[in-house]
Symmetry: C2
Subunit: 208 residues, 2 copies
């Protein structure tokens, strides 16, 4: 039984209903394996209704990523309150990895899938926000460690340090996500790998 003029709130509700259903399916079986018809069926609409809210499948994917980037930043927010900058940096790394490994398919969509470049302009998130921008959180912590003069003296570029730390943690997580069921390699325990990466990073970056 169909239509009724809808309030803005009702529209938004349906929008997030679609997003949630789509994410659940994408996450479980991968973006390409999930059809628009299947997403629609899940929420009791026809496939074409989705196109009233999203231009196409790619736009739906981007909207999902947007909400997940926010979720990541939110999940890291608590850790930003730790007083000691080095401890805070470690906690942020652990938190990031925890997000990646408990939501591997969210993570895959966010950081491992090729999609059109994310433009800050058409994102609903605010760049350089302590609440919404995880990269800004990382940069803030790295900057604090730098100001506390805890990095080795040859390390001066905050962006470079932040991106290298990110790469280290991302490397462990993404390798785990895309390769851990590979039989070619005799994989060691993921938490041991993560722990060693953190230790190596700290030893390599901090003053003795």
């Amino acid at each position: 039984m169909p239509p009724k003029p809808k309030t803005e709130a009702e529209k938004h509700q349906l929008r997030t209903l679609i997003i949630d259903a789509a994410r659940e399916l994408f996450v479980a079986r991968g973006v390409d394996a999930v059809t628009m018809r299947e997403i629609a069926k899940r929420i009791g609409y026809s496939a074409t209704s989705i196109y009233l809210h999203f231009a196409d499948k790619e736009a739906l994917l981007k909207a999902i990523c947007d909400t997940d980037f926010l979720a990541l930043a939110t999940s890291l927010k608590n850790m930003m309150q730790i007083a000691d900058p080095v401890e805070r940096m470690q906690a942020l790394g652990r938190g990031y990895a925890a997000f990646a490994l408990t939501h591997p398919n969210h993570y895959r969509l966010m950081f491992m899938t090729a999609h059109a470049p994310i433009n800050p302009d058409d994102s609903s998130l605010q760049q350089n926000s302590a609440e919404q921008d995880a990269y800004f959180q990382l940069k803030t912590v790295v900057s604090a460690v730098h100001i506390a003069d805890r990095f080795r003296p040859d390390l001066q570029d905050v962006d470079l340090i932040a991106q290298t730390i990110w790469a280290g943690v991302h490397g462990v997580c993404s390798l785990q996500i895309s390769m851990s069921c590979d039989k070619w390699v005799n994989w060691t325990d993921i938490s041991a790998r993560l722990q060693l990466m953190q230790t190596v990073m700290l030893r390599g970056l901090l003053r003795d």
Copy 2:
């Protein structure tokens, strides 16, 4: 003008013709964006002919990866001759990164794309071969550094060390490949990031 019984060599030739055409297209535009019909057209056959040589698109992808894994191992072989184990380890890291960054889409297929787990049994490559298995090459080098007693005393698990080093280099490369055109982050120079990762790794893993 159709068929003639073909020798084994001719079959193999057509097989690699398909592989090369498919890789070129996959690499240029991504696996999902390329159709079987398009691959076939490129080499002057009908789409269904591909199925005489590969069970399906996934099998074709796997065959491509197989030849690329071999190419990676081959490109690293020279570096295995460097005498000093630590220098050899560094060179291997640089070589791996060079491969990843000069063949980003090969690399994506090999290490960043979800495909059915690679089973050593149905690969044409030989596991634990110094010529064909890049992971074995890495493990060999790490083992040599370990035997030379150059790692910090608390580091004893060769697999764990190897996988952490891999994760570090892979992190820099994969982040570069999937995120470097992202406007959200103010990316620093890729070779600086790679250099810092190597330095950090060495400082973190080796004895003082």
